[in-house]
Amino acid sequence: MLNLGLDILGLARFQFGMTTVFHFFFVPFSIGLAFVVAVMETMYAIKGDQDYKRMAQFWGKMFLYSFAVGVVTGIIQEFQFGMNWSEYSRFMGDIFGAPLAIEALAAFFIESTFIGMWMFTWGRFNKWVHTLFIWLVMFGSSLSALWILAANSFMQNPLGYIINKQTGHVQMVSFSKVLGNPQLWNEFPHVIFGAFVTAAFVIAGCSAWRLLKRDHVTFYRKSLNIALIIGLIFSLGSIASGDLQTRYLINNHPMTFAAMEGLYKDSTNKGEWTAVGGFDTKNHKSTWSVDVPYVLNLLSYHKTTGTVKGMNKVNKELHAKYDKKFGNDMNYYVPTKTLFWGFRIMAGAGALFALLAVVGLIMNRKKSQAIMKQRWFLYILGLCLWLPFVVNTAGWFVTEFGRYPWVVYGLLTIADAVSPNVSVASLLTSNIIYFLMFAGMGLVMVVLCHRTLKAGPDATNIDGYAAGDKEIDPYSKGAFNHD
């Protein structure tokens, strides 16, 4: 066969990256939208203001599109562990399978049942009951994030296991330790807060574009207000939980942390922080950098003194620790540029979101017209609707590349995890087709959201299958005739 220099490992890794990144465009967006829509509907239930109901229905449409794509791309995730990573599945099944199964049982059933209930029962139930449905959807999807992150946390920081002497596979000995993994409780709030911020700034951005056209001004200003309040609270929450996570990394994954900060050599007591820089990853050194003193220590330890280990030192330590088991030809350097820039995108955007939210809320006060006059600000908000997706991807990259070269930290290397019996041709085919499908679905998503936005809140019909519904209303008299 034609040799394109492609191997199973590279293709399987590419596929995992591509499918998770695409899936993870929609997961935070859906979780966040469920939350924002639930807040809107709750406001409607409390105040009885029709505007809030229209809001819940209008933004709820985007939620439904996103949810549909999220669901179908999620099945790929569950299947691909067995399909592409059979050795990993054998090695990890005892621990990894359980959260995955519970995720389906405890979370997916709630989510999928109540989204159907919410979607098709407007006006049929008491408004509080109907509001409860969307909260249950939001609860279910957050719960699913918890379980999948529990599984992911084990890969980052294995706890509560032993190695079975006969099989060499990991074996669970303490479920409470698996679930009590500090990695999980650092990661989970950060992911959920990030999801809320994602939905908040997409709604803020969409509202901004409509306000620029002076379309439904009251409606979009109200939407903007809710979005920015949620955006402000949770961007601050993201920053705080991100800080917790970073400081956890210093001790637990010093290599990851050093790469995020671009440190090859140990830092000095002055705590010079590299704001931006260039790296020679082959020779393991930085080529140029713009340094700010003390900031590194402030970020790492919340004080001005202290030192942080550089990658070169951590590399030696890891060799000393693992050479016996994995041999001395391992490369423990993580992809430095990806982590360094990924971290900067994430942290920078977090700060920007908080700032935009504060400025926006001030301009959008009820009695002020500032928001309508400062068009530049609306343009910035409008452009920032794409930013959360970039940030989520960057965050995911930092986490997942950060455990290189392991798939399960310290226990199993990525190279040992792949399915040996899947051919390059199969993988190449599936990669190409997935890519085309994702491109198509992404395009349809954007077109649908754009169209929904253009049609405006008055065209709202949450029902989805709207076209002929007026004539075939299943709940009208005469539609009931059972035998």
């Binding site: 569950e78 059979s86 005892d94 359980a98 995955l100 199964a101 519970i102 098709f120 669970m172 002929g468």
Partner: protein, 336 residues
């Protein structure tokens, strides 16, 4: 083999039974979008019958997959990597059909509504057929090596037996879907579904007979477990007869339960024949067994406790959601 291993082998079977019972009519209804419905308004009603449910039904598959990963990692790893391309095609079909309902409803032009209608139809046909083919070829035995890795050729996946199995499952889903339409609609669609099933059931009988004959020659089921295998095959045919009787006498519930139980019989047939194996290797020494493919006793026990505490609650609201939508949908007016 421990009790927990046995419980989980049975539970995986139960989850797949739930999946085929529910997603069976779901696939069937999906196939009907472009074949059975005669115009756009009818397509709306057909899709609407499963609108609130298809997503929840699919969770049964996700739960079955997750449960297999958790309780029998070796089985999961061998099956999923061995059936790489088949599962990839299943995923592609499920994706197309999954988004098609939502996308179709929101398309503005007839051309694109048509496109997504076809995506739902073809996706449903392919998914049902491929599932049938996968399980049929699996029980015929596959080339599996010492490490449990399967390296099969095209003809191991696609052969007379597996194609007949695929077609049989497809037709079974189709009649199940029609029986569901009979329950969920009124008027023209309801009557047409009845007349379609009058024609389709004889086809299904023929399919079941051919399948049973090939089962005899292609698997060791009749050798190893002559009694139970025969009993289940008979049950399969009896349920189909009952469903057909429901068609002829216009008893809608009888037909629906009959076709649902036929699908479950297929799952029971497979699991009964597999036992005490989970994957059948051509070289029987390499077959994967329940006793050496499972997770640790700790994990199995944990999963058992969690499943038996969560599943009953799930079933309550799952069934309640069907009750909420237990209303017939009117067929659109003619020439609408």
């Amino acid at each position: 083999m421990t009790n927990f291993q046995l419980i989980w082998f049975i539970l995986i079977g139960v989850l797949f039974s739930g999946f085929f019972f529910l997603e069976g009519f779901d696939f069937g209804v999906g196939m009907l979008i472009k074949s059975f419905a005669r115009n756009d308004a009818e397509e709306d009603v057909v899709i609407r019958t499963i609108g609130p449910h298809w997503d929840g039904n699919e969770v049964w598959l996700i739960t079955a997959g997750g449960a297999m990963f958790a309780s029998f990692p070796m089985w999961y790893a061998t099956l999923f990597s061995g059936y790489y391309l088949v599962l990839f095609l299943i995923l592609a079909s499920l994706i197309f059909r999954g988004v098609s309902f939502e996308f179709r409803a929101n398309m503005e032009t007839a051309k694109w509504r048509n496109f997504w209608g076809w995506a739902g139809t073809i996706g449903s046909f392919c998914a049902a057929f491929l599932f049938g083919m996968l399980f049929t070829s699996m029980i015929a035995g596959m080339p599996i090596d010492k490490n449990g890795d399967m390296t099969a050729h095209f003809l191991d996946y696609v052969n007379l037996f597996s194609v007949v199995g695929g077609v049989a499952v497809t037709v079974l889903c189709l009649v199940h879907g029609l029986n569901f339409i009979r329950l969920k609609t009124s008027g023209e669609l309801r009557e047409r579904a009845l007349s379609w099933n009058k024609i389709l059931y004889p086809v299904l009988f023929a399919g079941e007979v051919v399948f049973a004959i090939l089962l005899f020659f292609s698997t060791d089921f009749f050798d190893k477990k002559p009694l139970s295998t025969t009993a289940i095959v008979v049950a399969l045919v009896v349920f189909t007869v009952l469903a057909y009787w429901g068609v002829l006498g216009n008893h809608e519930w009888l037909s629906f339960i009959g076709s649902g139980l036929s699908l479950i019989s297929v799952v029971v047939l497979i699991f009964n024949g597999l036992f005490p194996r989970v994957m059948i290797a051509n070289n029987s020494a390499y077959s994967l067994l329940i006793k050496n493919s499972s997770s640790s006793p700790y994990t199995l026990k944990l999963m058992t406790i969690l499943t038996f505490s969560i599943l009953p609650i799930v079933l309550v609201y799952f069934i309640w959601s069907y009750w909420v939508f237990y209303k017939r949908l009117a067929s659109p007016k003619q020439n609408a």
